[in-house]
């Protein structure tokens, strides 16, 4: 008789189990929400932008507290530093972890994956992931994501300038070189491996070597060494006309922001396409500041969160990651007063009302319209190129060999 009961139970539940992943997940997810109630989640992320920090500390922390009873603690840390820390912790064995959620992408993600530092695949566990177009987040700097990272935002590399001071800003990298020569000491870029500085030299690499397509197939040593001289030729040609004659570079993008805000340099760069509008709203920029992109192409990337192998509060981390993917969090994040970061959600999967909210969002006069940004958007280079570029920049440009 027992086996009949079992069969009946299975028969009742099997269709349910075969249903869409969302239905099954909401059961597992609901468990996680229950587990995470009243717990603390430590989110380790880059702390170099006070705008982003404020958004996380006020909006996100309050929302997850209210909805899920989770206390979110943001810990500022550079991705390279905390990946290093995870590696040391893994190698040393023993001891429990101290990080629950990480903001990670690019070469740091690749490093973490190659050393088995992350848990996953995780994306199937999150109900809100169904709102994302999986093809758009399949690769991170050319490395397959395979669900080990959870997307939560999209950024594009832009330049910023004060239209009241610079009437005719350069529109291509060739024009940029001429502009720098005509305006000595008024331009510089953050020292790689700072994220923005590193992105700038990648932009230069694309621009002087004829575009991005050739690199998408993966790391090709011959191709790299063939094209490298063009890049450092360009950067070394710029050197004597840069701020401090290129003998030194601002140590990070925050230092460059300070130089730009104080008027010591005339062009700024940012990997946040709406940061100009955000800073105008905060009163840090004059309202004549505008964003521009080079027609050679402007790199975009996706940012992700991930859960380390030794996370003490995995359930809480996943609940927070899921919340970040919710339409309300994505909308709040998209608002230039909060951050201005673009959404990773596939708008066609949202309800009409939600879609409208995104489409009618006022990104501000200093932000470029989506169409214009999209026109020049080019994908990021595979991570190995990045590592080589940063190392060689130090040798060839900074040390000048």
């Amino acid at each position: 008789m027992r086996w009949l009961m079992h069969l009946a139970v299975m028969w009742v539940f099997l269709p349910g189990a075969l249903n869409s992943a969302v239905a099954a997940d909401s059961g597992a997810f609901a468990d996680m929400v229950q587990q995470a109630k009243g717990s603390e989640v430590k989110w380790f992320m880059w702390g170099g932008s006070t705008t982003i920090n404020s958004w996380v500390d006020s909006y996100v922390a309050e929302a997850v507290k209210e909805k899920y009873g989770i206390t979110l603690k943001r810990v500022p840390a550079d991705a390279a530093v905390f990946v290093n820390k995870l590696l040391t912790e893994k190698q040393a064995g023993g001891g429990k972890g101290s990080m629950d959620l990480l903001w990670i992408n690019g070469e740091n993600f690749k490093n973490a994956m190659e050393n088995g530092l992350l848990q996953g695949p995780l994306t199937d566990l999150l109900p809100n992931y169904s709102l994302v177009d999986p093809v758009s987040v399949e690769f991170d700097f050319g490395y397959p994501v395979r669900g080990y990272e959870i997307p939560y935002g999209r950024a594009q590399f832009v330049f910023e300038y004060d239209s009241a001071k610079v009437a005719n800003p350069p529109k291509t990298f060739a024009e940029l070189k001429e502009w720098i020569k005509k305006n000595p000491g008024k331009f510089t870029y953050p020292k790689p491996p700072d994220f923005t500085g590193s992105a700038f030299i990648r932009q230069v690499f694309y621009a002087v070597s004829g575009g991005y397509q050739q690199y998408l197939a993966g790391f090709d040593k011959g191709l790299y060494t063939g094209n490298l001289p063009k890049m450092w030729e360009y950067l070394n040609e710029l050197k004597p006309h840069l701020w401090q004659q290129g003998k030194n570079y601002p140590k990070d993008v925050a230092a460059l922001d300070t130089l730009f805000e104080r008027g010591e340099v005339l062009l700024n760069m940012s990997y946040h396409q709406a940061s100009a509008q955000g800073k105008i709203l905060q009163g840090r920029y004059k309202d004549t500041v505008r964003t521009l992109v080079m027609t050679d192409g402007s790199i975009y990337n996706t940012h992700f969160t991930a859960v380390p192998f030794n996370a003490p509060n995995r359930a809480g981390a996943l609940v927070v990651a899921n919340f970040l993917l919710s339409p309300e969090a994505q909308l709040s994040k998209n608002h230039p007063a909060n951050w201005g970061d673009f959404t990773v959600l596939d708008l066609s999967k949202l309800s009409g009302e939600e879609r409208q909210k995104f489409q009618t969002l006022d990104l501000g006069v200093a932000t470029l319209p989506l169409a214009e940004l999209g026109r020049v958007a080019v994908p990021e280079i595979p991570a190995e190129y990045l590592e080589h570029l940063e190392k060689d920049w130090e040798k060839l440009v900074l040390q000048g060999k």
Binding site: D78, A80, V81, N84, L87, T88, Q91, A92, G185, K191, P193, Q244, K247, N248, P250, K251, A255, R262, G263, E264, L398, Q399
Partner: protein
Amino acid sequence: MRPSEPLLRLLPLLLPFSLVFGCGLVITLLQSFGFLMFSYTYDDLFFAYRELFADSWFLRSAAFSLYVAAASSGLSIAIGTALAYALWKMPERYRNFAIVYKIPLVLPHIAVGFLAVIFLAKTGILASIAFHLGLIDSFEGFPDLLYTSAGIDLISAYIYKETPFVMVMVYAMLVRFDRRQIDTARMLGAGRLRIFYTLILPFILPAINTTFIILFIFTFGGFDLPFVLGDSYPGMLSIRIYEYFFQKDLALRPVAMAMLSLIFVFSLFFIGMYLRLSASLARGVRKL
């Protein structure tokens, strides 16, 4: 006292000392040779040291660090001693107000770095003053003081932080000086400078020596201030160590450890040499 008692009393100190300081140093040394590096193995025992001397960046950074240490410690000692002496000679009732000199002692190094940027930037306070004095037409005319290979920003910041320390040490020594010796010298017709060089200076020299050693090594290996102030090239050794330890491949960690081992050896060497030198110089000076 029984022979074992000193050891027992020293235990609460010797235990953490050996564990953290002693073993910490040993591990630094071992890791510089490639041992205890988790799952990494190295064929060449000296690979980290070879890496340091393969290129010129290490020696340049070491030279720069020595230069910054010497300049800031030397100038702090000079300024601090002069101020402490002046303070000691001041009448009692004014001396209480002078307590403001202790402010930099309370400020942490990272805050002093921040202050240096505010003051020394091309659009900073000093530049604004220069503009109002008519010395420059626009901020471009103001010289580059920050992040240069002359290290002016680092040296000024360290002087700001270290001068009060010198003042405290020298002043503590001065209060023990018998003022009657000065009166005697005055009566014999000695001028102010002569009094300072022959009476005061030899007396406070031990304090100056100790302070110089402390400040020199501290500035040479200090991390907080150069980290906030931002780096130049070749920059301070401590920042290079930070880069190798935190930002580069874990497999390159022995290079950071090699630099630290060399710094440790140098510190010991420096203390020994300096003490020997000052002792031999003191022998040549006639004591009272």
